[in-house]
């Protein structure tokens, strides 16, 4: 049996990168251990809580349930790549303005999922927000503020693109 490492190539936050991965490594382990990106973090380890959310080819995945070798040939985006230099993304601004976090552990996942949510529903109602974000848990329970932040972000995005 060969459990040899594999060399993979992918785009990480817009930059081409190469990594050596073992077959049993997860994407969140790869990001933390080889790229020092700690925004996606494993919490529930079951794909339920959303703290390890990253985007692969523009689609959200749970980094804890996604093998690192799957990233070969893809474009991976993490929370660290969301801001444009020092300019925060409208979703990040909205979360700060609405106070949509307490400890912040889940926030990077919520922000990435909110970006996806707003791509699918640019002006979401409460039901759409609750449904789309049902797979993200905030144990500080800032859910009312998160819903406000999502709506605020929708308004900000509209202003930016208008």
């Amino acid at each position: 049996m060969s459990t040899a490492n594999k060399t993979i190539h992918f785009t990480l936050n817009g930059r081409p990168v190469t990594a050596e991965v073992a077959p049993h490594h997860t994407l969140v382990e790869l990001l933390q251990n080889q790229f020092n990106l700690n925004g996606a973090r494993e919490s529930c380890a079951q794909g339920l809580c959303g703290c390890c959310t990253v985007l692969v080819d523009g689609k959200s995945v749970s980094g804890c349930l996604y093998l690192a070798s799957f990233a070969d040939g893809t474009a991976v985006d993490t929370i660290e790549g969301v801001a444009d230099g020092v300019a925060l993304d409208p979703v990040q601004e909205a979360f700060i303005e609405a106070g949509a976090f307490q400890c912040g552990f889940c926030t990077s996942g919520f922000i990435l999922m909110t970006k996806q949510l707003l791509d699918a529903h640019p002006a979401p109602d409460d039901d759409q927000i609750r449904h789309y974000l049902a797979g993200n848990l905030c144990r500080c329970a800032t859910y009312p503020e998160i819903i406000r932040a999502v709506k605020l972000a929708a308004t900000k995005r509209k202003t930016v693109t208008a």
């Binding site: 594999k6 794909g47 339920l48 689609k59 959200s60």
Partner: protein, 289 residues
């Protein structure tokens, strides 16, 4: 997780040759969402995984045929079914079921073939697919066969598949105006495994049903048709009394498993209530497919 070997064949037929009918530590991997949970928990310790992610792209496509039937590649992610306009038009029960199936991230990665091959009785789609009369086309190193989804699932995490057989595609027959509903009941948190899943599919109206399928999952060791309830429903006026009787018949017929989601008596009451409710919704909901 412990180290293992990972192979990435370029064809589905090649993948079957890399599996081993006699070695349970070798398994195929689709999206991997379910298997990853087992590996992380140490319940499954693979020596080799055969990734199906690089096989022919045709095994990821959704095709609607002129008669309204579907051929769906086993590697199609659940999200592709969720967002398919053809599925929404012809099989709206699948679109609606996706709204209550796990979460966006899992649906982006998990595959329809993996969902069926896993044999987990708690999953949402198997009962729905059974109620729609769906089949799977299965290939082995030198074989090919077609199995109704109802027969594929044989027990708790058990299927008819040999360890070197793979689901190639899902085949859903034309529904010809039948109405279908899936309901599930979770007893702790909304995202938890259901205590019960009920899928029904009926043809007809309040004057009488010409066809009825009642399927129970999650509370049982496998998703399964409840013939006693289905048979009762065909013929007489489809009134609330008939639906109540069908719920009662289903509750007496199925063998239930008591667990942390609920005791056997509790689940029996859930079956009564949810079968009746699902039938009423199918008839009155105006949801045609």
């Amino acid at each position: 997780m412990i180290p293992f070997e990972m192979l990435e064949p370029k064809s589905l037929r090649d993948a079957t040759a890399l599996l081993d009918a006699d070695d349970p530590t070798i398994r195929p991997l689709g999206g991997g969402t379910a298997l990853m949970l087992m590996m992380k928990a140490g319940v499954f310790q693979p020596s080799r995984l055969v990734s199906l992610r690089s096989v022919e792209p045709r095994y990821s496509t959704i095709t609607v045929n002129s008669d309204g039937s579907f051929n769906i590649g086993a590697l199609a992610p659940l999200a592709s079914l969720e967002h398919s306009a053809d599925i929404h038009k012809h099989l709206p029960v699948i679109t609606r079921t996706m709204q209550v199936l796990s979460n966006v991230r899992v649906r982006n990665v998990a595959t329809i073939g993996g969902c069926l091959a896993h044999g987990d009785p708690h999953m949402d789609l198997p009962p729905v697919l059974i109620s729609l009369g769906a089949k799977v086309r299965v290939i082995g190193p030198d074989s090919e066969r077609t199995i109704p989804v109802a027969d594929l699932l044989t027990g708790y995490y058990e299927t008819q598949l040999a360890k070197n057989e793979l689901i190639a595609e899902l085949i859903i027959p034309p529904q010809n105006g039948k109405r279908s509903v899936y309901l599930k009941c979770t007893t702790r948190a909304a995202h938890d495994w259901p205590a019960l899943g009920v899928a029904v599919s009926v043809a007809g109206n309040r004057d009488g049903l010409s066809e009825a399928h009642v399927v129970i999952s999650a509370a049982t060791e496998r998703a399964q048709r409840v013939e006693q309830a289905s048979a009762l429903l065909v013929g007489p006026p489809a009134n609330d009394k008939l639906f109540k009787d069908a719920g009662e018949a289903a509750a007496s017929a199925v063998e239930l498993i008591g667990d942390s989601q609920g005791s056997v008596p509790y689940k029996r009451q859930l079956v009564r209530v949810f079968v009746e409710r699902a039938l009423r919704q199918a008839i009155d909901g105006g949801i045609t497919q």
